[in-house]
Symmetry: C2
Subunit: 109 residues, 2 copies
DNA sequence: GATCTATGTTAGCCATGACTTACCGTAAGT
DNA sequence: ACTTACGGTAAGTCATGGCTAACATAGATC
C-alpha cells in the first residue's frame, strides 16, 4: 500500500534473493528463512517491502502465508528500461548526425 | 571500477534523475547541478557511482567533463529482467495448469 | 607562474534501513 | 481451552550512504 519504488525494493541483495526464489516458485515465510542467511522476521520485513512495491502477493493457507511473485510488478521497471534504452539510441544517433561524436563541438545548450 | 550493482545505482531518486538527464543527452557536472536540487559535489559523487556501475562514461573537454550514458550499462538490468520475467511466466502458466490460480488480483497485502 | 574555472575529494553530520530479539495475534489439532 | 506452528510487529542497535562545506587538483588564459 505504500507504493514503494521497485528499483529500491530490488536494490537490496537479500531482498532480491527473496524475490528470485519466489519467482521460481511460491514459498512460505519460514521456508524462505530456512535457506536464506537472515532471520524469519527479516524475511517478513523484506516481503512487506516487496509487497508494497507490487512485486509480490500472498495468499493465506492455514497459519502459513504463501508468497508468489507478481509479473505486473516488473512492468514498471521494464517500462522505464524500454524508455531510456530507446532514448539512449536516439541521442546517440542524433549526435552522430551532428558529428559531435567525432569532433569536439559543444552540443549543449 | 568498483563494479557497483546497477540496481543499487538506480535506486536513489536523485541519482536516477542524473542518469535520466544524461540519457537524453550528455551534460557537464555543473550543468547538472544547475537544474538538480543538490550541490555540485553531490552530483559528482552520484556520477562516480553511476560510472562504477558502468551506466555512464565521461570524456574530458578542457576543464569540463562531459558525461554521457552508456547503453551497455542497462544490459545487466535488462538481462535480469528478461530472465525473471520469463521464469514468472513459466511458473504462472504451470500453476494455471494445476488450477491453483484463481485470479490475479491482489486480495492480500 | 598567477589566476580563474570546472571538477574531484575529504571530513563530518544526519537520516535511512537492514537486522535481531522479544512479543503478540491467529489458525489448526488435541 | 490449551498447545503448537506460523508469521507479523515493535524496539533497539549498527552500518551504510547521501548531503554540505572545505580543501585539493587539472586545464586554459593571460
Amino acid at each position: 500500500m505504500a507504493n514503494i519504488d521497485p528499483f529500491v525494493a530490488l536494490a537490496d541483495p537479500t531482498r532480491r534473493r527473496v524475490f528470485e526464489a519466489i519467482a521460481k516458485h511460491p514459498y512460505a515465510v519460514g521456508e524462505l528463512s530456512n535457506f536464506l542467511p537472515v532471520s524469519r522476521p527479516a524475511v517478513s520485513q523484506h516481503l512487506k517491502v516487496l509487497s508494497d512495491a507490487g512485486l509480490v502477493i500472498c495468499r493465506p493457507e492455514g497459519t502459513r502465508r504463501i508468497y508468489s511473485a507478481r509479473p505486473e510488478g516488473l512492468a514498471e521497471i521494464r517500462a522505464w528500461l524500454d524508455k531510456y534504452w530507446s532514448e539512449l539510441l536516439e541521442s546517440f544517433s542524433s549526435e552522430v548526425d551532428r558529428g559531435s561524436v567525432i569532433n569536439n563541438d559543444r552540443p549543449y545548450r
